[in-house]
């Protein structure tokens, strides 16, 4: 089998000592920030992005992706032990996980979460390995019109599946597209919106924008809602789940992994959505739904498997079509571009060692994570004692250094502060910055495909409805907007997120 051979070749790349090392570093950092509340994968990847410039590209991507799925492991630890999800994607895990901990069964709950994640990680890797080549095959049939529509659909789906007001998220997308058009226009060479400032000719830096909107804004948000210190639980004695736990968990793990893998591929999907849906599904399917909320092992197994699977499969749109489906993946796209690799269907041909190495590294990473997490759980728990007042100045300094080190330009650090302020204002107005960043990354590509589509059709916009695939994508996009605009369904969506 071709895929198996490729996966094996990838495994050889992933098992090179330097790549294992960075995979371990990524997994460790991911677990660390997963445990620490107030700092998530988004902020961490943004902070480390400039540094990865100094690493070989394969090692850099392996490390960054390790942070993303590693954070899913770490997040569950605090959710179960202290009812404080380190990551938003572990929110639902806390419901039953913490109840189990209060019944003295924290050990088995942690073990089920870790083993479920391991299984999900393996399955998601296989999904990636088999699905990506097939999708790339399909993408060869795409012309500029299809690509443009695919991006429109991706942006729309990203906001429909996320929380919050839809008109505002749409506006944030348009704002991101506008910001992305600052700088020299790629095809005409005219400077746009540069106000004669030479530094703006290359456009706004992706890193200062991403770090301002996320890292700096997040520090403000965390300080504002800062709560009292946490009580750290005592020793965890027994880790091994009982036979009954196994019996209840394995179907939940299977379903969670499947749901997570599927939802992760969708644009806008990702770990958060997957964990919510997996929990709700388990509850609905269970013969004793009343056990949920009072320490049901399935309520830990399903969402933890789902968020890990989804974190991994959300790489599919990036690796096959070059379209990042959520902000974390947008940062990964930024990392690839920093190394001169344009994400898209050509990566598998031009850089097979990178493509398959990255996918195979997820197998390695998941094994490392279980080792890091289970025996060393005590160390991670102790980290909870690090108070945020010592953490946030360090986050700010790392962010500043990261931005500065890109081009040794102090001006970019000042831009970081500016975007931090913008982020704070936007958050106060209930405008989530995630869609903006996504649109900022996709914007220039989108314009380029639009322009090419117009050249193909000699300026006739009907091309988007005349070509069947493009028309189909457009229908889905319009359908999504209509569906969420209907009052009934809107209520359903709000409820789904409240649950």
């Amino acid at each position: 089998m071709d895929v198996v051979a490729n996966l094996f070749a990838g495994l050889l790349v992933a098992l090179q000592p330097i790549n294992v090392l960075y995979c371990l570093v990524g997994a460790l950092i991911g677990t660390l920030i997963g445990v620490l509340p107030g700092i998530g994968p988004m902020v961490t990847i943004a902070m480390l992005l400039p540094i990865t410039y100094y690493l070989p590209p394969v090692a850099a991507l392996i490390m960054l992706s390790g942070i993303y799925y590693g954070a899913q492991y770490g997040g569950s630890t605090t959710a179960i032990l202290v009812n404080m999800p380190g990551e938003s994607s572990s929110l639902v895990t806390a419901i039953d996980g913490h109840q189990l901990a209060r019944q003295g069964r924290a050990g088995p709950a942690l073990a089920v979460a870790a083993l479920g994640s391991l299984f999900a990680g393996f399955m998601a890797t296989l999904v990636l390995a088999f699905l990506c080549p097939a999708l790339i095959e399909l993408s060869l049939m795409f012309g500029p019109a299809e690509y443009f529509m695919l991006m429109v659909l991706g942006l729309i789906a990203a906001i429909v599946l996320a929380q919050g007001s839809i008109p505002k998220a749409l506006a944030m997308i348009l704002l991101g597209l506008l910001l992305g058009s600052i700088g020299t226009d790629a095809s005409t060479g005219d400077p746009r919106f540069t106000f004669g400032v030479p530094a703006l000719l290359d456009g706004i830096g992706f890193i200062p924008l991403a770090m301002g909107l996320f890292a700096v804004t997040e520090v403000y948000r965390s300080l504002e809602q800062q709560t009292e210190t946490v009580t750290v639980p005592g020793r965890i004695s027994n880790l091994w789940p009982s036979r009954d736990d196994f019996r209840r968990s394995w179907p939940a793990v299977l379903r969670g992994s499947g749901l997570g893998a599927a939802l992760g591929i969708l644009p806008g999907g990702g770990a958060l959505l997957a964990s919510f849906v997996a929990y709700a599904t388990e509850k609905r399917l269970s013969s004793e739904p009343e056990r949920f909320g009072h320490g049901a092992m399935e309520g830990v197994a399903a969402p933890e498997s789902a968020n890990n699977a989804a974190a991994q499969t959300s790489f599919v749109p990036l690796l096959t079509l070059g379209i990042p489906s959520n902000p974390v993946i947008a940062l990964m796209a930024g990392a690839m571009m920093m190394h001169g690799i344009q994400p898209g269907p050509q990566v598998i041909e031009s850089r097979p060692e990178l493509f398959w190495g990255l996918i195979a590294s997820m197998l390695v990473g998941n094994v490392l994570l279980v080792i890091i997490n289970l025996p060393m759980i005590g160390i991670w728990v102790r980290l909870l004692r690090v108070p945020y007042r010592l953490l946030f100045p360090a986050i700010l300094v790392f962010t500043s250094i990261g931005v500065f080190s890109l081009n040794n330009m102090p001006l970019e650090v000042l831009f970081l502060a500016l975007f931090g302020l913008v982020g704070i204002v936007l958050v106060k107005l209930d405008c989530e910055p995630a869609p903006l960043l996504l649109a900022f990354v996709i914007g220039p590509l989108m314009e380029e495909y639009f322009r090419r589509a117009m050249q193909v059709s000699r300026g006739n916009p009907a091309i988007f409805v005349e070509r069947p695939i493009s028309a189909g994508l457009l229908t889905v996009a319009v359908g999504l907007v209509l569906i969420v605009s209907l009052p009934n369904l809107r209520r359903l969506r709000t409820e789904a997120f409240r649950e």
């Binding site: 504002e224 007042r389 700010l396 102090p410 209930d430």
Partner: protein, 152 residues
Amino acid sequence: MIRVRSPRDVAAGLLFCAVAAAAIWLSGDLEYGSTRHMGAGFFPRWIAILLLALGAFIALRGLAVEGPRIERIDWRLALPILASVVVFGITVLPLGLLLAVALSIVAASFAGRHYHRAEIALLAIGMALFCAALFVWGLSLPIDLLPPWLRI
């Protein structure tokens, strides 16, 4: 008198409208071209027009539908956070990394509470040394550690 029912939405809508209007005005200098040969101004102009419409919709809806008030920005938190970044940006070239990190930490610490004074000093010194070790010695980033004018 119009009653603002959802100040947060109205403010957001007006903000979007303002940005869009500025973009439409600025894109007037750019070549629009035609659908067949799009100029540099074509795409941003249309995006800005869409944004203007959407901003107006959000603002008008805010007049009709009840919504939350605008929470104030807590400047006692926001100012030190932003100052920490700005201080780093201004000082890193003239004063070098060690001092820039230490000053940036001190600036940030004004946003925190329950500090002991020694804690801030320790954090500033510790972070300065840690950053020097990690970024300059470990990753060999080309950043001066000490003020360049000390090195004659």
